[in-house]
């Protein structure tokens, strides 16, 4: 099977994630879409590692997983604090800062 198909798949996943970030209203869902984008990156890395014939991409995927986990922790804590304050995790609800 042509490995390039996996790159296409990763770009679709990335686009779905990006669209989700822009369209969804719940901060948790937005955040999950960001995670989908990071995982799309991982798929691309691993696929390119196979195509290039070296292991760099697979090692990078490890690092991305760890960074993504750290990001989950920080992000979730921020969203939980916001939710406790406002009783809602809607991105539209957070609209005090403008102009």
């Amino acid at each position: 099977m042509n490995p390039m198909n996996y790159v296409y798949l990763s770009s679709f996943l990335f686009a779905i994630g990006a669209a989700g970030v822009l369209l969804r209203r719940n901060a948790i869902v937005v955040f999950m879409c960001v995670e989908l984008m990071l995982n799309a990156c991982n798929l691309a890395f691993v696929t390119f590692a196979r195509m290039q014939g070296n292991l760099d991409g697979q090692v990078i995927a490890f690092f991305v997983m760890v960074v993504a986990a750290a990001e989950v922790v920080v992000g979730l804590s921020i969203i939980v604090v916001i939710f406790r304050t406002r009783r809602s995790a809607s991105v539209d609800g957070a609209n005090l800062l403008k102009y």
Partner: protein
């Protein structure tokens, strides 16, 4: 095929240990059932009637989940290190000890600040 012998042996030992534990527990332990013991184990949520929409989780669950994620995922670095342990030698060992020590600092912080207390 000989390369797989250790794996098969390991699997057999694991299977044997699991079966021994279950059988030994069933044979030797006292049996006093109550409601709580028949509930789903380690799922965290009471299986009793829930409010519409599933209800809300106490923040504690998020805290525990976050701690679990951050400590769990660091294991990922141990695999490549273990695979290449022979060629990394003392350098790899020192770096990995430093890495785990840093995690230990975080663990100490969480523990001292009450992140591990449920109440």
């Amino acid at each position: 095929m000989t390369a797989y012998v250790p794996i098969i042996v390991l699997g057999a030992i694991a299977l044997g240990f699991a079966m021994f534990s279950i059988v030994a527990g069933a044979l030797t332990g006292p049996r006093r059932y109550n409601r709580a013991k028949l509930d789903a184990y380690e799922c965290g949520i009471e299986p009793t009637p829930q409010p519409v929409g599933g209800g809300r989780f106490p923040v504690k669950y998020y805290l525990t989940a976050m701690l679990f994620i951050i400590f769990d995922i660091e294991i990922v670095f141990l695999y490549p290190w273990a695979v290449y342990f022979d060629s990394l030698r003392i350098f790899g060992l020192v770096e990995m000890v430093l890495f785990i020590a840093t995690l230990l600092v975080v663990y100490a912080y969480v523990w001292r600040r009450g992140g591990l207390d449920w109440d």
